[in-house]
C-alpha cells in the first residue's frame, strides 16, 4: 500500500517539452510511471518519447482525452502559478509542483484557491513523490529506495535522498516518500501527510525530515501526540544555522527567534518522537 500515488496514477506533465520536463518524463517512464499526456501551449498535436506520449495545448484537453488524474509541473517560476490554477481547473485531483522560486504572495492566492476547489497541491519547490516499485512523480531518483513499510515525508530534496539511501543500506524500504517542499507557503504540510500515513495499512512507521523556519514541525508534533499510533522518527536540519539568514530554501529562516531547530526538536521529543542526531542514525532508530 501507499499514499498519494500508486500504479494506478495517470500522470500529465505540464512543461513536457522543456529540458527538465522531458528529462524527468523519461526518468518517470523508465521507472514505470504511467505518464499519459504532456502539455505545452502551442505544441498540441506533437508527440514525445518516440511517439509514446501525446502533447496537448491545454491541461483540460489532455485530461479529457487521456483520463489523467495527477499533474506534475516543470515550468519556470513566472509561469508556475498559472500552471497550478490551470491544473486545478482541469479535473485532476492532485498536483505536484517541482518549480522553485515562486513568489510567496502568488502561493498564498494559489493555496486559498485550491483549498476552495478541494484540489491537493504538493510543493512547490519539492522533489515530488515516490512509491517504490509502483510510481514516481517528480524527480526523486528511483534507484535509491526499495519497497517497504516506512513512510517518509520531508521539506528537503537531496537530504531526503540521503535518508532513503540510508534506509536501503539497512534493507528498509519505503511505502511512499513525499517531498512537501522548502517554501514558506506550500500546498501540503507535514500533518496532511502524517494523517495519510496513519491511515495507510501499508505504512508501519514514519520518518519526518524537517528544517529550520516556520512552525510546521511544531504543529506536526502536536498532531503526532494526539493522533498518531505509528512510531515517528525525525531529523531536523539547521542546528548550526545562524538566525535571520535564508538557508537556501525560501522557507528555511529563523525569524524573530522563532523557527529554530532546537524548538522543533524539543516539540517533537516531547511528543514521543525519536529525533536522530544525523540522517544516518535514522535506520537504527527504526530498528533496522
Amino acid at each position: 500500500m501507499s499514499i498519494l500515488i500508486n500504479r494506478n496514477t495517470r500522470v500529465i506533465v505540464q512543461g513536457i517539452t522543456g529540458n527538465e520536463g522531458l528529462f524527468h518524463t523519461t526518468q518517470m517512464v523508465l521507472y514505470g510511471t504511467e505518464v499519459v499526456a504532456g502539455v505545452t501551449p502551442g505544441k498540441g498535436g506533437d508527440w514525445v518519447l518516440e511517439g509514446k506520449i501525446p502533447v496537448f495545448d491545454t491541461v483540460k484537453q489532455g485530461v479529457d482525452v487521456t483520463g489523467a488524474n495527477t499533474s506534475v509541473i516543470f515550468v519556470p517560476a513566472r509561469f508556475a502559478p498559472d500552471a497550478i490554477y490551470e491544473a486545478a481547473d482541469s479535473g485532476v485531483s492532485l498536483v505536484f509542483c517541482i518549480t522553485e522560486g515562486i513568489p510567496v504572495q502568488d502561493m498564498m492566492r494559489v493555496r486559498e484557491y485550491l483549498d476552495q476547489k478541494g484540489v491537493r497541491l504538493v510543493g512547490p519547490n519539492c522533489p515530488g513523490a515516490l512509491t517504490p516499485g509502483e510510481s514516481k512523480v517528480g524527480i526523486i531518483p528511483g534507484n535509491i529506495a526499495i519497497p517497504g513499510s516506512v513512510g517518509v515525508v520531508s521539506r528537503s530534496g537531496t537530504l531526503t535522498y540521503e535518508v532513503l539511501y540510508a534506509l536501503k543500506q539497512h534493507n528498509l524500504g519505503a511505502s511512499t516518500c513525499v517531498g512537501i517542499g522548502g517554501d514558506p507557503v506550500n500546498g501540503t504540510n507535514f500533518i496532511d501527510v502524517l494523517g495519510l500515513f496513519e491511515a495507510d495499512p501499508g505504512t508501519n512507521s514514519v520518518v519526518l525530515i524537517g528544517e529550520i523556519g516556520g512552525s510546521d514541525e511544531e504543529r506536526a508534533a502536536e498532531f503526532i501526540a494526539r493522533y498518531m499510533t505509528k512510531p515517528v522518527v525525525s531529523f531536523i536540519a539547521g542546528q548550526t544555522a545562524p538566525a535571520g539568514k535564508r538557508m537556501g530554501h525560501a522557507g528555511a529562516i529563523i525569524e524573530g527567534g522563532a523557527g529554530t531547530a532546537a524548538d522543533k526538536i524539543k516539540a517533537l521529543t516531547n511528543a514521543g518522537v525519536q529525533v536522530a542526531r544525523h540522517p544516518e542514525e535514522i535506520p537504527g532508530l527504526l530498528g533496522g
Binding site: 537531496t158 540521503e162 539547521g238 542546528q239 548550526t240 528555511a252
Partner: protein, 381 residues
C-alpha cells in the same frame, strides 16, 4: 531584500500615504540646503539597514540648518553595527501628538497576509508583543479578496483611534495594503504612524522587505539593493547561482541541496568541528560552478579543510568528480579536501578523486570525522 527608510517612504507617498517633507542627501552641504528649504527644524536620519539607529546616535534633531549640517558631518561616515552610513534622510520635524504602529506581513502558519496594529507605536513592536500581547491587534487578510474597508475600520476601533481620524487611517491602511501587494513585499511597516499636533496622520518611519523570488517582475526594486549589507562572497555566489552564507568555523562545506547542506554543517558540529559556511551548489555540478564554489570557500582565511558532500541522484557521480578535478586544477587549493560522493556512478567518481590525492569517505559520519581530524591537523589545534 530590505529597502531603506527613504526608499520605502517614497513608495508609500506614491500610494497616498502622507510622509514628512524631506529628501535624502550624501554630503553635509546638501543636508544644509535641504534643511534651509524645510525651514531649519529637521531630523537627520542615517540610512542603514539595521535596527537601533536611534540608540546608536544615527537619528538626531536639528533646530537650524547649520546644526543639521554639523550633525550630518558626524552621522555621515559613522558606522552603525558595522555598516557605513553613506546617506542621510533630512525630514521636516513634525509635532507629535501620538504614535501608532501599523504593518502587514506574511503569516506562514495561516498562509495569509496579516495586518498588525498597536496603539503603542514608535517602540520595538516585538517588545510590545512580549510585554503586553493584548496591545497587539492582528487581522488576517484574504489573499483573494484583499483588505476590506470594514477591516481597516475594525482595526481603528481596536486601537482606540478617535473617530475623527478613522477616514485618514483607513486611507493609510488601504495604501499600505496596495504597497504590500504591488511590490511583492513580505513586510511593510510604518513605525511610528503619528498623529501630528495639527491633526494629520503621517508615516514618520518606513520599512519594506521584498520577496527575493519576486524581483524578476520588480526590476525597479531589484536595482535598489544595498550591497553594503551583504558579504562580498555572498554577492559573487549569487552570480554563479550558488547559495553561500559565511559562518565562523574552520571547515568549508560544498554540498548539493539546501537541506543536505544544513545537515552537513550540523554533523560537522556533532563530530567536534565548526562549519565555515553554508554552500548549496544546486543541481548539476559542472567544473565552472564547482571552481567558483571553491574560490569562494577558500577566500575565507579561517578554512582549514573542505568537506565536499554530493548526493548524485540524477547528477552522475563521475561527472561531479571530473568537475571537482577540473576545478582543483584551476584553483589549486592547499588545504586538505574530504570528498563524499554517493549515488549514481559514485564508485567511479570516488576512484577518480582518490587518484587525485583527496581524502574520500563513504558515509556522512565518516566524512565529518575525517574533515574534523584533517582541519585540526592542518591548523594545529
Amino acid at each position: 531584500m530590505n529597502l531603506h527608510e527613504y526608499q520605502s517612504k517614497q513608495i508609500f507617498a506614491r500610494y497616498g500615504i502622507p510622509i514628512p517633507r524631506g529628501r535624502v542627501a550624501s554630503n553635509s552641504d546638501e543636508v544644509k540646503q535641504i534643511a534651509e528649504e524645510l525651514g531649519g527644524r529637521v531630523v537627520v536620519k542615517s540610512q542603514v539597514l539595521v535596527g537601533g539607529r536611534g540608540k546608536a546616535g544615527g537619528i538626531r534633531l536639528a533646530k537650524t540648518a547649520e546644526e543639521a549640517q554639523e550633525l550630518a558631518n558626524k552621522i555621515l561616515g559613522m558606522e552603525i553595527k558595522g555598516l557605513p552610513v553613506r546617506r542621510v534622510l533630512v525630514d521636516e520635524a513634525v509635532g507629535i501628538e501620538k504614535e501608532i504602529y501599523l504593518g502587514i506581513t506574511n503569516d506562514r502558519a495561516s498562509r495569509k497576509p496579516v495586518m498588525i496594529a498597536s496603539a503603542e507605536g514608535g517602540v520595538d513592536i516585538e517588545e510590545v508583543a512580549a510585554r503586553s500581547p493584548d496591545r497587539i491587534i492582528r487581522l488576517h487578510i484574504d489573499p483573494l479578496l484583499g483588505l476590506r474597508e470594514y477591516q481597516s475600520r475594525d482595526i481603528a476601533v481596536a486601537i482606540d483611534l478617535p473617530k475623527e481620524y478613522w477616514r485618514q487611517f483607513m486611507a493609510v491602511a488601504d495604501g499600505l495594503w496596495q504597497v504590500y501587494q504591488d511590490n511583492d513585499a513580505t513586510l511593510v511597516e510604518i513605525n511610528p504612524l503619528v498623529i501630528t499636533k495639527d491633526k494629520r496622520l503621517v508615516a514618520l518611519d518606513g520599512k519594506m522587505v521584498i520577496d527575493d523570488n519576486a524581483l524578476f517582475r520588480r526590476p525597479d526594486i531589484a536595482e535598489k539593493r544595498d550591497l553594503d549589507v551583504e558579504a562580498p562572497e555572498e554577492i559573487t555566489a549569487r552570480k554563479y547561482g550558488l547559495s553561500y552564507i559565511k559562518l565562523d568555523g574552520q571547515i568549508g562545506c560544498m554540498v548539493n541541496g539546501a537541506g543536505l547542506a544544513m545537515a552537513t554543517m550540523d554533523i560537522i558540529k556533532l563530530y567536534g568541528g565548526q562549519p565555515a559556511n553554508f554552500l548549496d551548489i544546486g543541481g548539476g555540478a559542472g567544473a565552472e560552478k564547482v571552481a567558483a564554489a571553491f574560490r569562494i570557500i577558500l577566500s575565507d582565511p579561517n578554512v582549514c579543510a573542505v568537506l565536499i558532500n554530493i548526493f548524485g541522484g540524477i547528477t552522475r557521480g563521475d561527472e561531479v568528480a571530473r568537475g571537482i578535478l577540473a576545478a582543483i586544477q584551476e584553483v589549486k587549493p592547499t588545504v586538505p579536501m574530504v570528498v563524499r560522493l554517493v549515488g549514481t556512478n559514485a564508485e567511479e567518481g570516488r576512484r577518480l578523486l582518490a587518484d587525485a590525492n583527496m581524502i574520500t569517505a563513504e558515509t556522512l559520519a565518516e566524512a565529518a570525522e575525517k574533515s574534523v581530524t584533517a582541519a585540526k591537523e592542518r591548523c594545529n589545534q
